[in-house]
Amino acid sequence: MNPAALPRLLRRPLFLLWLLVGTSTVLFLATFDFNFHGYRGNAVNVLMSLHPSSGRDSALHVLRYLSLCTPAVMGFLIGQTVQELYHTSFAWSLPGLRRSIAGQVALVGAVLAVLVVLGYRALGGSGNPVALAALALVWFLLGTGVEGSMLQLRLSATGLSSLAALVVAGVFVDPVYAWVTGHPWPGAAAALLLAAGILWWEYGTEAARRRPGIPTLPLLSTLSGSAKERYRREIRAHASGPGTPWTESLAGARTATWVRADAYESFGYRRGGGARVLWGTSALTVFFVGLFAFQSGLEVAGGRAEGLRFALATFLQTPVSGGGGHTPPYLLLGWFLGTVLWAYLATPTSLRLQSLPYPLSRSELAGVAYRSGLHYGIRFCLAAGVLFGAGTAILFLLGFRTGSLTALPGFVRALAVAFILVPFPLAFRDTGRLHSCSGRASNRIGLISVGSILATAGLVAVATRWLPAGLGHSGPLVEALVLAALIAASQLGYRRWLQGYFRKADLAC
């Protein structure tokens, strides 16, 4: 591999856009973490006005959190790019590619670790610089492994490694840093050993042998038609099974029949494939939501043993209106991540316009796309509802009854919010379809996507802060009306968007 290959990979315009998103994410995570600790003020302000006597603990916490998030997010972004190349089938036969990639990733990580340590110490953090740098390198390498981890997650439960390690590190960031600061040389040695292990696990020969040909879905390429298509093929291969073949006539069929046909094509609707994908991804969604809820619980409960119970209870009780005042942002973020994940990864439905001769006009295609999205939105919410309902029941049976039976209104609210959010990731998905027809439009699509993400973040903020505050004194009827209006608005907007898209867009490359 040419020494300049990695910089060249990273020079893509989309990477720069995602870099902006990454930076925002670091600040977002840090701010939320800060708020969860109950500190007053703004995390960034605390950083900028460090004072030896006041706010020392909170500032240190934010510093530690940033020194974890920054290399991890950077690693994630770089890992996306590298893995995209690393998992191609030709990468296996290119001489020296794997060693070269591993070396360059380690080099970038080392440079970044030094920069992180310099920043950490400049802002008042203390500790052995070698140990801190080694720790930053570990966060970076774990970040690069998230993509591979997600890939493994789809294939088996063992793939949680990097992701889980980062989450655990995020939860226990203070104890980890305290230990490394207290035992600098053993800490440095352990971190470097861990870094070498991750490097071997992610980029060694065995990893490459295990993975070539396995499709990846790097975030940077989620807008790439070929990467998505490879992934969809894999989903279909997993989803197919014995069952009844298609027997209905589609000649002059109604939209609803085409929606069923769409599902049948995508993952063998009548073969159990649909159920497998639906439940599997709903479980993944629950995992994400639970992850954030769990973290919030631990944070709010100060890491005490009842953190998990607290998290579950507050989650089930107050998903939106924020009775506890702490969980809604995390929960909404969890919902949003879940819906994004679901729309991007789990519902690969879209008629194969380039391959099959559907006798459908463009307006009919828009109708099918809309109904398909609506259909899966409802199923997604119902599936999540059943799963969380089961959770509630289990909690109740276990004797943890505080609020569990009164959780229903809040729970319905959460589903309603999810339903409001569902069209946004669906719009991202359809934007990806647009992109797949023209690689030349990548910059434009990148901008659209980033804009959409920011808009959605804005919506989450509104739903988090203003909606509950505004509805807090209004009563259930007004709240129901407002939620219904928001659902109608998001659905109508999505439908309009689809109609415009199918009227004007090229539907083939």
């Binding site: 298509e229 093929r233 279909r236 291969a237 989803a239 197919s240 073949p245 298609w246 027997t247 209905e248 006539s249 589609l250 000649a251 002059g252 046909a261 049948y264 094509e265 063998g268 494939g273 194969r352 316009l353 380039q354 391959s355 099959l356 001769p357 559907y358 006798p359 459908l360 006009s361 463009r362 009919e364 023209s438 030349r440 439009a441 009227r503 004007k504 867009a505 090229d506 539907l507 083939a508």
Partner: protein
Amino acid sequence: MNGLDARTQEQQPALAAPAFELHDLTKQFGSVTALDRVTVSVPPRSVVGLIGRNGSGKTTLLRHLVGLLLPTRGTCRTLGTPSDRLGSAELSRIGVVNQETRFIDWMTVEEHIRYVASFYPVWDQGLETRLLKELELDRRARVGPLSPGNVQKLAVILAVGHHPDLLLLDEPVSALDPISRAAMLRFLLELLQEGDRTIVISSHVLTDIEKMVDHVICLHQGKLRISAGFDELRERYCEWMVTSKAGLLPVYFPERYVVGHQGNSFQAVVSVRDAGEKLSEFRERYQAEVAIRPLNLERLFPLLLEEKV
């Protein structure tokens, strides 16, 4: 089920309209102009050879015909309907074989055929069975692991089972082995006997398609080089086998109707255009014997690329 008789009489008048009409059609992908002011009208019941080099715009043109792509400028009408407004009625009368097709890989061949057959009011199961047998395609095979050649066979079966009025074939035999290719060509020739449909074949294997086509559309770098009847082209273009009777043949023939030549001082093969009346003059000037040979499409193709628009 053979429901061809059920075809409605209302569909017949539409056949009188051109099978497709492009007027000043331009398609741009960003800064790349894939089709540049193409104007073409093809009458119904034609067999059109769509030829051109790689990247000349053939596939883009075919995708406009089915409405998957929309013109940047100009218009495209297929079966009398603007291609952006093609509805179920028109699309049910079109069959398409795409150059690169990704069918639903988890289905078996049988399931896939049944699924696509459900799109149409009529489906000729007899034809399906015959083609499966002739092309040696296993009904029980999964689509995913099929070889490119077998995918192409499946594509053809899916495209013709509903007896379309307009059949668009984009490189339909490119991945087939010689035996399958011969079988496919036999079948396509048979389709021509039915005589009530328009077929557009885009292919680089010109020797195959010249047995079928009666109209040629040649694209080059997105521009229309020529759209004319094949017979007309064969009249306009031919080869003269020139043998010197006395003296030497020139290295270069300056006549404007000579569009290419190769040979030596005693014998030459001269490609000519619109030169029917010039033959005796040519014989006299070069004191040569001239035998006329019609051009096949493969020899004609490079000449068409140089045709002035």
